[in-house]
Symmetry: C2
Subunit: 485 residues, 2 copies
Amino acid sequence: MAIKSEQFHLDPKFEGTLQQQIQHLVSQGVLSGRFLPGERMPSSRKLAEWLGVSRITVTLAYAELVANDYLTSRGRSGYFVSESAPPPPMLNQSEGDRQDAVAWDEMVSSRYSYRSSLVRPSDWRDYPYPFIYGQPDARLFDHDNWRRCALEALGRKNFESMTADPYEQDDPKLIEYIVRNILPRRGISAQQDEILVTMGAQNALWLCAQVLLNKDRVAAIENPCYPGLRDILDQTGCQIAEVRVDDDGLPPDELPGNCQVVFTTASHQCPTNTTMPIERRRALLNRSVEEGFVIVEDDYEFEMAFQKAPTPALKSLDRAGSVIYVGSFSKSLFPGLRLGYIVAAKPLIQEARSLRALVLRHPPGHIQRTTAYFLSLGYHDAMVNRMGQAYRRRRSVMDKAIRDHGLQIASGGSHGGSSFWMRAPEGVNTSELALKLRKSGVVIDQGRAFFGREDDNHQFYRLAYSSIPSARIPEGIQRIADVIR
Amino acid sequence: MAIKSEQFHLDPKFEGTLQQQIQHLVSQGVLSGRFLPGERMPSSRKLAEWLGVSRITVTLAYAELVANDYLTSRGRSGYFVSESAPPPPMLNQSEGDRQDAVAWDEMVSSRYSYRSSLVRPSDWRDYPYPFIYGQPDARLFDHDNWRRCALEALGRKNFESMTADPYEQDDPKLIEYIVRNILPRRGISAQQDEILVTMGAQNALWLCAQVLLNKDRVAAIENPCYPGLRDILDQTGCQIAEVRVDDDGLPPDELPGNCQVVFTTASHQCPTNTTMPIERRRALLNRSVEEGFVIVEDDYEFEMAFQKAPTPALKSLDRAGSVIYVGSFSKSLFPGLRLGYIVAAKPLIQEARSLRALVLRHPPGHIQRTTAYFLSLGYHDAMVNRMGQAYRRRRSVMDKAIRDHGLQIASGGSHGGSSFWMRAPEGVNTSELALKLRKSGVVIDQGRAFFGREDDNHQFYRLAYSSIPSARIPEGIQRIADVIR
């Protein structure tokens, strides 16, 4: 039987070239069983006429389909569905009599979906005033060079690094660059086997928690802190000691005497943006040696120190090996990359590496290699530089607008970063505020999620400027001020 | 001060173009603090002469460095290191007095590095006879079209899907293709919210185990089985019931009466390659409903059924919703991709999704989108078809060589796959055999790792043909026979 041109219909919403769409239509016709082996295809001339495309487009699509054995060419007789074409799937089972007989409530032994993380609209890009935190800005990202590096990493000489399963190992090029260029920027020196690449900082913190904590242990965290950290610690069953931060970040004197692990964002407290002074850092390190606890330092956003030079990482002062350092490319590249790293003593890295292998093997090789190229050709530092300049401009526009409209900055931010930590007037519930603002096209982060579960604090909110252009900032701030009034 | 041409040296081992190398040298000179803001660069003519490259190469590199603000051009005065160039890192701390004061043996609460997984040489590509399992073959991979799809997924219109943090969500295009084209091939129908994308099958099995098991529960597994599964179950603290497989795979009658979860590779037992007949499948499903356990079906390698049509997945017979299906792209695309998926009832998917978010957020968006394109343009099915043809040829060469040399196939493989499960003669220890063979350039998988910890079975080994070309097979098999004798 012959397949007719009339069986083909172009979809104006198809993403891709016309040639790709024709390939798609033919291959899916074969795979769905509608086009059978041996059936004759319409001639390229007829199909081109019917679809209103140039004949060369159809010819190129057919050539590609021949190369992939969907079609064969029989000279002047034309094109036919190949006898050895990929076979269609078997017939679908009917769904009629499916009935869930499993008591899932009992079957699920551990529940993870109760967590109340930051609630953000997934369509935040459609809001004109997105003061949303931690999302990439297409205007600042060096898309062309990223694409070029990705292409390089997709080249034949990189076939292995892209495709192979290196079991527990990381890309040596990426590790080398981190050791030689990223860590010195934070005052840290490390050996290659003191580093583990992770699926972002989230994965790094999770691995550390799993290796170090259990239900008999105590972890001290900052209050407020990154909400994901509380969920991570919950999973270990450990006891959580919340330590209230002040204008200098975590006060070491307030730590409980019985903790094994302290989590801190010393250089740039999350979410208050304060920086821990050097004396406190020394006091914290001394206490860790005296009492035998280790410190997990989440050094997020250190690249965004555009106001003044960043303080070195806590890890740079660590002489006892008790600091476990967590870095990430989520802010300086983009969060969808899912790349971060742990720098720590070898025994910790070894356990974290084995656990990572158990859970997911390794971060994809192609992504590690692309990042290594982007770093080593200087694009990363150049982009961080540019982002810093843009953030500085936005921050100063924010700062002025905040003051003009009488809003109150709660703390921090002398080095830079990408957000302000804000205090609402007495009586304003920022969780309700955040919902109300959406109706005015404004997205903010309510502050409640950063505080401990017992700490029903609705007074704070976060305003980020990483995804909103300067020109939109004054109007956005005005709307916040209006709704607060 | 002026920077001299003589400070630049090309590295013949640099991977990349000459232009990239010049960019690399200049940007790293700036980032290392050797080139200071305001310093004059050598003219493009002088640097080109010194390096022995064309002047246009230097000019293009300089232009790129200007675009990235490492250099500025001052018209006829030439190029200078930009005043706003990315700053060098601060000085490195001296390492002199570092001394590890942490008692890591006590500090580590959970140990993961004891695991004895398959030991394989990481330089297996240098062995002439690699009967190694599960690694990609550059000769069979459709590199050009993968690259094309990756480029498409790197395009500006895909910026969001590549870079953004979609929190817990997966790429809808990939999910749609799995639902519409992959699952029907296995006789499975599913809704979009019954699917979760994972970092390969390893991650899928791990998520299922974490959600379903704890120290009060019992998991039944096949013996022998995939070694990674035992490690995954160990981490949950559950009791493991090992059930010996026979020539029809897992015998449902031998399951203990008290288990909550049964793990099976019904269609293609790992590592014995046997297929569970339909009566056993029905018996297993009936028992699961009667006794209230759920079944995790690892449907690995189903694409490689080139001998005869694959049996439908166990999940396709599941009317009670008690089968949790695990699929993977590691074999049909490549393991370094780290993409797999779980198909199961919504309550299970919901918990696994939340746990995945806690551990790693989501598999990188760019990788999900590239795979979606590769699938929807028909390249995946075409490649599976080609791989099947190559594997069929290799398998028949293997089969003949194995018989010619009097080696013994232990079981299975009527549908295809990528390996033979082999039995060594009495008295041969295959763990020792594997080590000895490496000296003859041969890599095989010893069988011990597949058996339970109590089951000190060294009689079996696995020979895969996914990474060895047909022409090398007879000599490789001969060497194995020689060493066994």
